[in-house]
Amino acid sequence: MHIVLPRDVSLDGHLVDGAIGYLTIATGIAFVAALGVFLAALVLHRARAGRTWGQHTHGNRARDRALTFAIALILFVAVDVTLAVRATRELEGRFWRYPDHDPAALRVEVTARQWAWSFRTAGPDGRFGTPDDVVTLNELDVPVGRPVYLKLRSRDVVHSLYLPSYRFKIDAIPGSTTRAWFQAVEAGRTEVGCAQHCGVGHTRMRGWLVARDQADYQGWLARAETDSRLRFDPAAGSAADAWDWETGL
């Protein structure tokens, strides 16, 4: 069977695909080897005329134990240790290295509610909660080639922002702020969803991520800002979604 993952359009998604690929090869080899022994035993050592007795061994001899421990250890090093080392390196070097001090990073505040996502960027003044904030519902527009730094909160239950084409998801939790970052490498529309069961409308909690080339993004941003200024209403409930980025994690 041909398994097709959604097209990876992110800077670091290949690391996830690489981990899955390595896992598939490593566990595949282990599985095929074990299956081979298993099937061989079933065929060769089935009870039949001339084979009514099994071998009388408890497998408690030093040699037997050494063999089982050695195989388990080899598996552990070849699969687990390799994966853990690799994952730790990638997490610390890439996924958990947040662009806190990168001036090019686009900062986005994500607020989840039953059953929609709202995305807020700070606008030209660089501050959240001001009239030039660009707030979009169920659509996140990002520039290609710049890191996008997300911080998430939830107004009601636990949700999980899921970007299959960017190979990650991160929960949005009431009462705390979580974060993630990614970078688009090609322009295009991909789906955004909720991965955590959040009630009867869970399926409908879906939107789009639109990655735009630099020029396209600037044009979109200018239009969106004008719109936002016209629509800004400090008394609206959604205005309370904004928080102070520096102090509020």
Binding site: A19, A30, L42, A47, H58, F76, S160, P164
Partner: protein
């Protein structure tokens, strides 16, 4: 561990004392078994309905649709669908597998396998069953309350499970049912642990216990330690729901009030050991049965026992891998990843010992053995796919997708179901005095094993392609529309799987009356339960047996003069035949 003295306890006579409020572990075991099998059927029908919705979102359910979903014209509505997957998970874990494997086989087998006349506390045992029965009553009551049954998933994450996300009475009843279910499990654990510690027959040392007993014993230890943690979460959730406290709810601003993630910590601190609570008895049963039907001692018995103990020790410190996407601190995230991976060492030892047991055996492909071999296969796939989810990087993509569903169903559903059937086919003669039909059993195996793997491996594929769990209608997502044919195929395999269980139901009930009468020891093995008649008398053993060897003495040369390849655990051999090694007292 001295021998039982005094007169044999008399069997009760009246109907109520004998079949309903019985304190006989064999009766209670069968009560648990029937209750669990009943709920297995209910949970299975729910799975079929879920699969119907995933195959044909929004189409009316044929035949039973009008009955179950009357107001919606036979269509499964979103609330009905959420309720279905919530109850499917709850029922299968807490009210099907738990009562069957732990309550049913645990009760029936423990005293028989260790050479005791009953459990240490027979009345507590009865209370444990009736507490479970009360829990099922409370759970079923939730179907008939305003706003319907619970819909927060079997994990019932706060705040979806608090009054904020689930205002109905159904969720409150769910909390109470889970608490009662846990109380029943703890009563059972107190009983099982005491029984194994105190009531073993003379000579039944710890390293002569059948692996089934080891599995049940370790499960009971985990039950005693971690079910109370779930109890704590349920108490706090109940306070939040009934009295308006705010342990698990929080404002939008961080720092104010309770913490929804606290619920997840408590839930998974129980929830991960729970996985082992369920699988440990299955591991034990499969370990014994592989040896019995390979006609060869269990390979590396001591290493296997050590591995089981190792899993128990590790089980509590790996739970964080369920929470990688909640923004755990890097230190916690990496620690949980490494600890989770370490647990693959004892598991690998276990599987290697199973292979070692089969190697150079004289394997008999009886029906229980078929199910055991099937279990080894699906457990292998299920275990290896677990590594994907232990890896934080891969988990960022795979978490909460169908890959997770496929992985845990391969273990919790496929491997557990297969070992559960193995146990039924193996011990049915001892329980009911009749043999299950062999031919039907073989059909049942193949028609279960093949679709089971198609369903859950299909789910692995769908998950790798990215589809989330718990979606009412995947076609809402453009990206998942191309998965529709595969989703339909999975559903068809699931219907086949469901239909095949009718063979089992038929076989089970018809054999009760018309099955071949079971001899005392149909499988020719040496553990204690096969040394008494089928079914055993009320007091199990006329005289408490004296155990002289381990549970897997098959193919022992010392048995050759007896004209068979097995030795009973109690058999005292005369002078060893010249030229043969002296059989050692310990296995």
């Amino acid at each position: 561990m001295d021998t039982e003295t005094g007169p044999l306890p008399a069997a009760p006579t009246g109907f109520w004392r004998r079949y309903v409020f019985s304190t006989d572990h064999k009766v209670i075991g069968r009560q648990f078994l029937f209750l669990g099998l009943g709920f297995l059927a209910v949970g299975g029908i729910m799975a079929m309905l879920i699969r119907w919705q995933l195959a044909r979102p929004g189409d009316p359910v044929p035949v039973v649709g009008r009955l179950f979903f009357h107001s919606a014209g036979g269509v499964i509505s979103p609330p009905a669908y959420t309720a279905l997957f919530t109850m499917h998970g709850t029922i299968m874990i807490f009210f099907a597998v738990t009562p069957i494997l732990i309550g049913g086989f645990g009760n029936f087998l423990l005293p028989l396998l260790i050479g005791a006349r009953d459990m240490a506390f027979p009345r507590l045992n009865m209370a444990s069953y009736w507490t479970m029965a009360a829990a099922t009553g409370v759970l079923c009551a939730s179907f008939f309350v305003p706003l319907g049954p619970p819909q927060a998933g079997w994990t019932a994450y706060a705040t979806l499970s608090t009054a904020l996300g689930a205002p109905g009475v159904g969720q409150t009843l769910w909390v109470i049912a889970i608490y009662l279910n846990g109380a029943s499990s703890v009563m059972g654990a107190v009983n099982y642990i005491t029984t194994v510690l105190r009531l073993r027959a003379p000579g039944m040392t710890y390293l002569r216990l059948p692996l089934t007993v080891w599995g049940l014993f370790l499960t009971s230890i985990l039950n005693a330690l971690f079910v109370p943690v779930l109890g704590a979460a349920m108490v706090l959730l109940l306070f939040d729901r009934l009295f308006g406290t705010q342990f698990f709810t929080a404002g939008t601003t961080p720092g104010a009030g309770g913490d929804p993630i606290l619920y997840q910590h408590l839930f998974w601190l129980f929830g991960h050991p729970e996985v082992y609570i369920l699988i440990l008895p299955a591991w034990g049963i499969v370990g014994d049965l592989l040896s019995f039907f390979a006609r060869k001692p269990a390979f590396g018995y001591r290493v296997t026992v050590g591995a089981l103990v190792g899993v128990v020790v590790l089980s509590a410190v790996v739970y964080g891998h369920h929470m990688f996407t909640t923004g755990l601190s890097p230190l916690l995230g990496e620690s949980f990843m490494v600890l989770t991976m370490i647990i693959s060492v004892p598991t690998a030892l276990l599987v290697l010992n199973w292979l070692g047991t089969l190697w150079r055996g004289a394997i008999r492909f009886s029906v229980p053995m078929l199910f055991c071999l099937g279990m080894v296969f699906t457990f292998g796939v299920g275990g290896l796919t677990g590594l994907y989810l232990a890896d934080v990087v891969a988990d960022m993509y795979l978490h909460d997708t169908y890959f997770v569903v496929g992985h845990f169903h391969l273990i919790m559903a496929a491997a557990l179901l297969l070992s559960l059937f193995a146990a039924v086919y193996f011990w049915y003669p001892k329980m009911f005095g009749r043999m299950l039909g062999e031919r039907l059993g073989r059909w049942h195996f193949w028609l279960t094993f093949v679709p089971l793997n198609l369903v859950f491996m299909g789910q692995l594929v769908i998950g790798l392609e990215g589809m989330q769990r718990r979606l009412y209608d995947p076609s809402v997502y453009e990206a998942w529309r191309r998965l529709a044919p595969l989703n339909r195929s999975i559903s068809h395999a699931a219907y086949l799987l469901g239909a095949a269980q009718l063979l089992f139901v038929w076989n089970f009930f018809v054999s009760l009356r018309r099955g071949r009468t079971a001899p005392a020891n149909p499988w020719e093995v040496g553990t204690l339960e096969w040394s008494v008649p089928s079914p055993p008398p009320h007091h199990n053993f006329d005289t408490i047996p004296v155990v002289v060897r381990g549970p897997h003495e098959l193919a022992d040369p010392a048995a050759r003069p007896l004209g068979r390849d097995w030795l009973s655990q109690t058999e005292v051999l005369d002078e060893p035949a010249p030229g043969l090694p002296v059989p050692r007292g310990r296995s």
